[in-house]
């Protein structure tokens, strides 16, 4: 996928800033991601990784700056006088359809079965017929190795299984991009591998992915590029081999020495 980096930018993050009250959490972050590229975001706890990745599907509106996906600015449009105008909730919701998001804590819908969790959005957001949606859902559940758990409720599944269902739920919307926020950090160690295996598989099939992760072995193997975030700023980025083996920034060095 390294060649994909030369294609035009698919995700463009332009001078994004996020403040919570007076607290600046993201401070002028710009980067882009090409189609098919896998980018990992690393950085110490509290550096703003979750905040940043939530801006990329507009779960959080940046205080300043813009995020463009496939050329379309998320959450706002440019008005006649060049000022940015907020889009109505319906438009923002439509923009999110092609962006999958996998949460640290899975956030499956506990009142629905595994199959219903995966079918929910295709049926009620895209208006797909139930029989089609069911077939697609079954396909994706099989893809993450959980075909036999279709009728189970989330609380009957292990953490690793729940996270795989969450990935199947995102895939069922046929996304062009999937965002992962520390998908394995809420898991018991023995379940981390099964989730990473699914993600590795997605990467191999050319899915565009942005992954916040502390699994450095996985990042080194799967990511095309690593972005190091510290105190809300990108302090270093490059291919994993470069960043991990020859970190230039002292903060990256300090962070890596603690985690590796």
């Amino acid at each position: 996928m390294k060649s994909a980096a030369r294609q035009p930018a698919f995700v463009e993050c332009d001078s994004v800033e996020v403040h919570f009250g007076a607290l600046p959490v993201i401070q002028g972050v710009s980067f882009s991601v090409s189609r098919g590229e896998v980018v990992a975001i690393i950085g110490p706890s509290g550096s703003g990784k979750t905040t940043l990745i939530r801006c990329l599907n507009h779960l959080l509106a940046p205080s300043a700056g813009t995020v463009r996906i496939a050329g379309e600015t998320l959450g706002v449009r440019v008005g006649a006088n060049g000022r940015l105008i907020k889009l109505p909730a319906r438009k923002v919701a439509a923009q999110r359809r092609s962006i999958g998001f996998v949460f640290q804590r899975f956030n499956l819908f506990p009142h629905l079965t595994t199959l219903q969790n995966v079918m929910e959005a295709p049926v009620h957001v895209l208006g797909r017929p139930k029989t089609d949606a069911r077939a697609v859902a079954e396909k994706h559940l099989a893809r993450v190795g959980l075909a036999d758990k279709a009728d189970a409720y989330p609380r009957q599944l292990s953490g690793g299984q729940q996270q795989r269902v969450a990935i199947a739920r995102a895939l069922a919307m046929d996304p062009e991009l999937i965002l992962f926020d520390e998908p394995t950090s809420a898991l018991d160690p023995e379940m981390v591998g099964e989730v990473l295996a699914v993600m590795r598989d997605l990467a191999a099939q050319g899915m565009t992915m942005l992954i916040v992760s502390h699994e450095m072995g996985f990042v080194r193997e799967v990511a095309d590029r690593v972005i190091m975030l510290d105190a809300g700023r990108i302090v270093e980025q490059g291919p994993p081999a470069e960043v991990f083996d020859r970190p230039k920034n002292p903060r990256t060095q300090a962070f890596l020495s603690k985690i590796l």
Binding site: A93, R97, A170
Partner: protein
């Protein structure tokens, strides 16, 4: 036995509990009393349904990001929880037509759908529904707020609008939290309907009062009507138990399946 326990003497006026009158009042009720019973149940159910629907809207207003809507919700609660429902009833029944320039808002008979209904009953149901909405709105709001923030985020990340996420994801989960207090509210509503007697709606208590004024058998009548209310609330308690058991029952079945798996 009952006679000797219940009989008492007050100066030279002797009072003897009329057991056979009491038993007849309870066990072979007049058609008017049965109709009153039906009216009580119907008024309670319709008022409660109205309260739940309005309460939902009020709860959404209370959770809105628009200050104006939250303010409306606050003032509504301030009024409807801060004044007695009896006062609200007479305010609406007598006061509202007056405010509207003497319009005959609640005539003796109004035609609603296929039914002729007493205007006072309509005023009563509207009042109870409005009053109930204030309490239901707080119950529903608490139910919605008890659902983890991650649920609405996951729904929105899948492209749901906030309204769709509320309907498909949040409310079905909140319902489990809302059902038990809703049951208690309905128990209260069954009893609150007795206030309709002050605006001459012939519900259970009003009919009993009419029997009392015709026979002067006060204690027998009021004890008898209490038995009726106890039967209503008792039956409702059983229904409530069944509903709550089926909610937790499905959870038990699920846990059992987990163990089997």
């Amino acid at each position: 036995m009952l006679n000797s326990i219940l009989a008492y003497f007050d100066g030279d006026v002797s009072f003897v509990f009329d057991t056979s009158f009491f038993l007849r009042f309870v066990f072979s009720p007049s058609p008017a009393l049965l109709k009153g019973l039906g009216l009580t149940v119907a008024a309670a159910i319709i008022s409660q349904v109205l309260g739940v629907i309005l309460g939902c809207l009020l709860a959404l207003a209370g959770l809105s990001r628009f200050g104006l809507l939250r303010g409306c919700n606050q003032s509504y609660l301030f009024f409807f929880r801060g004044t007695p429902v009896l006062v609200q009833l007479v305010l609406i029944y007598y006061g509202l037509p007056y405010l509207l320039g003497g319009a005959d808002l609640f005539p003796p008979r109004v035609f609603i759908g296929p039914l002729w209904v007493q205007g006072a009953l309509v005023a009563g149901i509207v009042t109870f529904g409005l009053h109930e909405a204030a309490y239901m709105s707080e119950i529903i709001r608490a139910g919605i707020q008890s659902i983890d923030e991650g649920q609405s985020e996951a729904a929105q990340a899948l492209g749901m609008t906030p309204a769709l996420a509320m309907r498909r994801i949040i409310l079905p989960q909140a319902a489990r939290v809302i059902v038990p207090p809703l049951g208690n509210q309905f128990n209260q509503m069954l009893k609150t309907t007795s206030l309709l007697s002050v605006i001459a709606v012939p519900e259970l208590f009003r009919v009993a009062e009419e029997v009392q004024s015709a026979t002067y058998k006060s204690f027998e009548v009021y004890l008898g009507v209490s038995v009726y209310y106890l039967a209503l609330t008792g039956a409702w308690t059983i229904v409530q138990m069944l509903i709550e058991r089926s909610l937790s029952g499905s959870r038990r079945a699920v846990t059992a399946k987990t163990r089997a798996a």
